[in-house]
């Protein structure tokens, strides 16, 4: 492992993997010091490719944006990783210490596009985690959406009868 060029960390939930690369050979990756050898067998449109990893075959879609996070979609599952280089780790540590962590949504987010059928709360209501605060209809099914946390309803963006996009913050809670 003399040719190791760079080490990164991949963070997925509470798991962290250390990856190291051989700069003379991009087909090799050391993950937690175990060697993985890669072959790209086939590439399709839309970032889909078939890759063999130590000869094991995976058909995956690899979504990568500029903010060093990668999503790997297999048949059925989606895996998300934040990439931490030594620089980004330091930066993040700094940001965290300054109390400006990543945006965490405090409230209920529309999990998919749909129509707001009913809002079950008002601004100022004290609510508990899992309280069903809003009902959204999508693909002909009603879904009662529960609060991810206990707190007070701060703002209501959902309007009965109106369509909402996926990701819209419907109810803000603090």
């Amino acid at each position: 492992m003399n040719n190791i060029q760079e080490e990164i960390k991949l963070v997925s939930g509470d798991k962290t993997y250390s990856a190291a690369f051989d700069h003379t050979d991009t087909s090799k990756v050391f993950l937690d010091e175990k060697l993985y050898e890669f072959k790209v067998l086939k590439e399709y449109n839309d970032n889909v490719s078939v890759i063999s990893v130590n000869n094991k075959v995976f058909t995956v879609k690899i979504n990568q944006d500029d903010r060093d996070s990668i999503e790997i979609l297999t048949t059925g599952f989606g895996y998300n990783y934040e990439i931490k280089t030594s620089t980004s780790s330091l930066l993040e540590q700094f940001v965290r210490q300054s109390g400006k962590g990543k945006n965490k949504v405090n409230g209920i987010v529309a999990p998919m596009p749909g129509m707001v059928v009913k809002v079950n709360c008002a601004v100022g209501d004290q609510i508990l985690e899992n309280d069903k605060l809003v009902i959204v209809e999508a693909m002909k099914m009603e879904n009662a959406l529960g609060s991810p946390l206990s707190g007070t309803v701060k703002k209501i963006n959902a309007i009965e009868g109106k369509a909402v996009d996926k990701g819209t913050v419907l109810i803000e809670i603090e």
């Binding site: 990164i8 690369f21 991009t26 690899i62 990783y81």
Partner: protein
Amino acid sequence: MFKKILVANRGEIAIRVMNAARELGIETYAVYHEVDKHSLHTISADYALEIVGDTPKQAYLDAAQIISLAIENECEAIHPGYGFLSENASFSKACKDAEIKFIGPNEYAIEVMGNKTAARELMQKAGVPIVPGTKERITDLDLAKEIANEIGYPILLKAAAGGGGKGMRKVEKESDFIDSYDAAQREARNAFGDDTIYMEKYIVNPKHIEIQVLADEHGNCIHLAERDCSIQRRHQKVIEEAPSTVLDEKLRAAMGKVAVDAAKACQYVNAGTIEFLLDKDKNFYFLEMNTRLQVEHPVSELITGVDLAKEQIKVAAGYPLPFEQEDIVISGHAIEARIYAEDPLNNFMPDIGTISYLRNPDGIGVRVDGGIERGDEVSINFDPMLAKLIVFGQDREEAIEKMDAALSSYKVVGSRTVIPFLKAVMQSDRFRNHYFDTGFIESDFDFKVLDEMKENDEEYVAAIAAFAYNKNKNKKKVTPVNPTPSDWKSKRLNNMREF
């Protein structure tokens, strides 16, 4: 036989019907809304006719427009598939008035069986056992609550016009009654334009068993044994099989006879299904009749050798059934799994997106009735069912092995799917030992198994992520051609398990 038929539907069922028609030498006409012009059913037809409407749904429900297209193109018959106009009595009548054959039952059967209250009454008269409950529309909520107390909780609220779990609510205790009633009514109104709700006893741990019937215009009516559709999420079927492991020859004959009686009572012609709840003591209760071809019809086809879609067309063309009850022999075992674009790790939430790669399994005893191909989008306009995977084995064990293997061969990349969940069911002891009822997913299935399945590959997938990062590193230094970030992240949200 007809020379041309119009298929007033989309997706896999439209393709299924067109395949059947093609075998009978019939030319097929698809209809499509602009957003559906590239869809597999459109491009699979011999002819494709555009229908217009503010929304695709409106277009597919536009009876007058569809009938006039059929007339214009000299189609002699219309197959409605399932959903859309398939259980619309006035559409059946409008076809008749336009001298176009509706490939399905007459308006009377649709009308009476489509109204839960009327259906219960008719079934009771015909000697079909029904679940205790109200026979009329709930109007007086206080009275309804009294009746509920008499029947005993849990009770079930159901939309009279409903089907497929929509407008349906289980009520565990009296204090939940009003909220559940409101929700069921609202859902029913939105889904069917009819908010009539009735209630019945909630049968605890029942099996959902349904009998396929087939009747011609000459008074012949037979059944094609049962399907066990007990594996449901949100009251909607996910896995179906035939035959059921809990029916013996005697019970099959008894339920079959009742189903045929039910069909005859509503003067039924064409293919239909009588759904029953079967309790642990092998009591069965009429649930409803689906007056159309069902999503899960293939499992019956595989164990009986009868092509139901083809028989539907032949019956509509006036042919007598080519077999009698005693000719129907069941052999082997068939299982169907619905491939939904839903995330089983997130409460089966539909997951839209582009199916960037798709490869169906193949081989002996493997059938895929699919509605999409590689590159197609799964949109919110329609149900998130991508395809149905149906397998046939010499016995149930082989069918399960085959389903498990076929699911492993399935490649669907671009949206989350229920495939891992389906695999987990095939591997679960409860399913293998046929110890399951309609509460299986809600109460008995261990979702942790899915987390474990996901973690099984985690090490490799993490390595792939690292590999991709390393490979793309240099690329990222050049100015991106498209500087706006891709939107995949905004489409993925965490912490959605509890909603």
